[in-house]
Symmetry: C2
Subunit: 298 residues, 2 copies
């Protein structure tokens, strides 16, 4: 039994962790070396530099997930179709360096004739399920492109993407609303955030709901420094509106950073929906679980 | 009976028209002198320059609508509350120069505790109704911030704003979708546009539907040069989704530029809803009708 180097390699950043044979994270590193910064053929070198502090683990298995497996990444790992069990994902690794560096494939699913995709989140999902000891759950992985994932009996049955974080950034930085929003991120105003969540649900259309951030400020019905909190509530509420939360018998599992899981937990609570949170350790647990499954520690 | 100078003075541009006593437009001018370009106290001078080609009408009534009546404009014309009849709007002009330059007030209405506003569109609505000889209608004024307006027995009963044009521009220019969209505006692909309209309706959430513009392109299921048409269909479809179009007994009245009324007409047709279009002459007709009502050509 040996240790593992886990790698979460996305578009804008690279995170790596030294994971012991027992699954415990022994060290972690984060670099602004997302795949978009890596020249073709340069992935091995960047990875080598990123893990230079662990020379004694140079020959350990390196297992990566995220956009590193996309067409623009190190090596394309073709999407696994849903429903997808853990075993299918673990059995479909793409080897960037034979027996040494493997990449976890992303998933695809289809609804209404339109495909959806994820890369990296599948690893977080399997990791979160393992950490929580669950076989079935409704999970949300909030972010630039939030993923809602339904798991039944250990299989990812379906998922869908919501461009929530990206819409928030667009509205915050480039829209007419940006003129009246505070320039600096201020502390979250929970009351205005929840007001935004509720209004988005009632309004049922963000194209209309977003305009309220302007008119409420125009009519002095919102503290100016709370406008960003309200807007955050609007976009998260719009995302929650399309989930079948009344059917959720178990707490929704939120996987992500503390800041985001906190906001989503608050929004769900405002709607009377219980939730539980898992942090970034889900990625490392997911990679470690896949490595265990390989049954061949290098 | 005398002629009238009509002025449509918005945030980014100024349009003026010489309108004869019979309501016919005898000349028109358009300048990039929106209110944001005018220094405080400089409005009279800019207007004088804009209408310099009509010196013999210098003493005619000048009637303006649009953001020129906002706090950032020449003189604030306080919003009239809905429901608002034509007579109330015509009777609430703000005089920027006594007996000479008047500004048409905007409208406000309230729903779910949130105010909505318009400035300029009220004049287009009254003008379109006059041109079409209607007393009741459902109207849409597409644009950066589209307005849906319900008129009953000559009164604007309620309206709501959709940030459709702005969301389209944000997604087109600043989002991840911009990477795969053609840089130049290409000819409208009617089939992909209608596909976007239908998918937005089926999906019922733009945060999710917008991601399809990425995945369809990723899976080569859409001609790359048609991606902007599809995206346009998505945002317009999302706007149409929230209108009570099945209740519409009469054709929806679309007021705006030829390009936009064409797209909205096409989208409505795809949903089986009849429409009729009115162009920018609605503004001049609205201003002329208000001037008639004043009963005192200067």
């Amino acid at each position: 039994v040996s240790s593992l180097i886990g790698i979460d390699w996305g578009t804008s950043s690279l995170r790596a962790a030294l994971i012991g044979a027992d699954g415990q994270v022994q060290g972690e590193v984060s670099l602004a070396r997302g795949i978009l910064t890596v020249p073709a053929g340069g992935f091995a070198q960047v990875l080598h530099e990123a893990t230079a502090q662990w020379p004694q683990h140079e020959r350990s298995l390196h297992l990566a997930c995220g956009m590193v497996g996309s067409r623009q990444g190190w090596q394309e790992a073709p999407y696994c179709p849903c429903p997808a069990a853990f075993e299918q994902v673990a059995g479909s690794l793409a080897w960037a360096q034979a027996g040494h560096v493997a990449i976890v494939p992303g998933l695809t699913c289809e609804r209404d004739g339109v495909p959806d995709v994820m890369r990296g989140e599948e690893t977080q999902v399997f990791g979160a399920l393992s950490l929580l000891g669950l076989e079935s759950a409704l999970l949300v992985l909030p972010g630039t492109h939030s993923k809602w994932v339904r798991v039944q009996a250990g299989r990812i049955v379906e998922f869908s993407t919501f461009m929530t974080g990206e819409f928030y950034a667009l509205l915050r930085q480039h829209s007419i609303l940006a003129r009246t929003l505070p320039q600096d991120e201020t502390a979250l105003d929970a009351a205005e955030f929840e007001r935004g969540v509720r209004y988005a649900m009632a309004c049922a259309n963000l194209l209309h709901a977003a305009f309220s951030a302007r008119t409420l400020s125009l009519f002095d019905r919102m503290p100016p420094q709370s406008a960003a909190s309200y807007l955050s509530g609007l976009v998260i509420g719009e995302e929650l509106r399309s989930q079948h939360l009344r059917d959720a018998r178990e707490p929704v599992v939120i996987v992500g950073s503390e800041a985001l899981t906190g906001r989503y937990g608050m929004a769900l609570r405002a709607l009377g929906v219980p939730s539980r949170a898992v942090g970034s350790e889900a990625t490392w647990r997911g990679l470690w679980t896949i490595a265990q499954h390989l049954g061949k520690p290098v």
